[in-house]
Symmetry: C2
Subunit: 206 residues, 2 copies
Amino acid sequence: MGKRIVPDIVVARLPLYLQTLKQLQREGEYTTSSNGLGKRIDISAAQIRKDLSHFGEFGKQGTGYAISYLIEQLEEILNVNQVWDMALVGVGFLGHAIANFRGFNSHGFQVKLIFDNNPTVIGSNIAGFIVQDSNKMEEIIQEHNVKVAMITVDSDHAQEVADRLVKSGVKAILNYAPVTIKVPEGVQIQYIDPIIELQHMTYYLD
Amino acid sequence: MGKRIVPDIVVARLPLYLQTLKQLQREGEYTTSSNGLGKRIDISAAQIRKDLSHFGEFGKQGTGYAISYLIEQLEEILNVNQVWDMALVGVGFLGHAIANFRGFNSHGFQVKLIFDNNPTVIGSNIAGFIVQDSNKMEEIIQEHNVKVAMITVDSDHAQEVADRLVKSGVKAILNYAPVTIKVPEGVQIQYIDPIIELQHMTYYLD
DNA sequence: TAGATTGTTAATCGATTAACAATC
DNA sequence: TAGATTGTTAATCGATTAACAATC
């Protein structure tokens, strides 16, 4: 049943739908419609229905979607009806912030391993984790069967770290370093880069 | 001379081109081609040429693009041939990391003001800035004529903070809170949300 | 000059939207 | 039942790619 047939641009919107449905649930709502959901996030009702239709029929004519059911379904589709252990490589200020971030837990993720190559931080305790030596990345990640990682090292080391993560069996990398990284087919990569986003916006300013 | 006529999806790629050109420059290159640039970032040569053609003619047949010239031009197009002062609202771990981030400076941005509503941090020094009281946001931001802001408060307060930023004259908001925010026409908003990116990737994992 | 690469046009491909029968 | 809203089809719209004359 080919995942391949769903356009990636559709997949990319699902987490936003999930986030918004959870928000609606927190607000005490039990049902919503493609229209109601779309209004929240400035996406057309037609697009939401079309996107969801790639995966099944989750709504009812006349009444819309049961929020808790649609959340369950999206969590299953996105494979976050489980908790993914994550490795974090690099403990500067940003690594610290991520290690201490409380938001992962209820959304399918948790930090499990932290690495750095700086002897003065290796062995120290960050957010309850002992920082491990980067040199032992491969064995430790394999041992813990970690498939998801975040890179918060500087640009010059990001590709090298990514290569080692891939060797360790990591299949999804969230890269915070401001540089494009090459990964083999079958390994996912996404970027978080505030400067890219800021420059995108300043285009529209005078 | 309508900025309107350039598709936003094209604009969104320009910062990536700029980033990559700077990288090439650091590596000692003086020229590149649509092909060479494209290979770095997995974008087709045709697309790069098409994108750039919206703004002018920056290359030479036979030889490609002079990197320093194209950097200059892109910086001008993106309005980052100047330094934008930024306000940062919310000083948790993430706010701390952003306040201390060295990477903004050479790319057109600098943190100028930091706000929080927590009495125990107001007045304290973070990365050389005195944390100001959120209650004085409007007047202080106006006084400093700040047009760009980053939100690192929790989800429940993000919309309220955004509203106040807009009132203060801010025209571009980078929101780190995991919630969609409504802003008026003419105000730019972009999101940074690791969970969205992670869930996008886990779709492809088993 | 010959080779390389641009900027641009036209063709292709893909994504979004509008419309509506089905039905809760 | 009447009103609302789904899932889906077909039409529209927009983005990407291929191809090539121009020319450095």
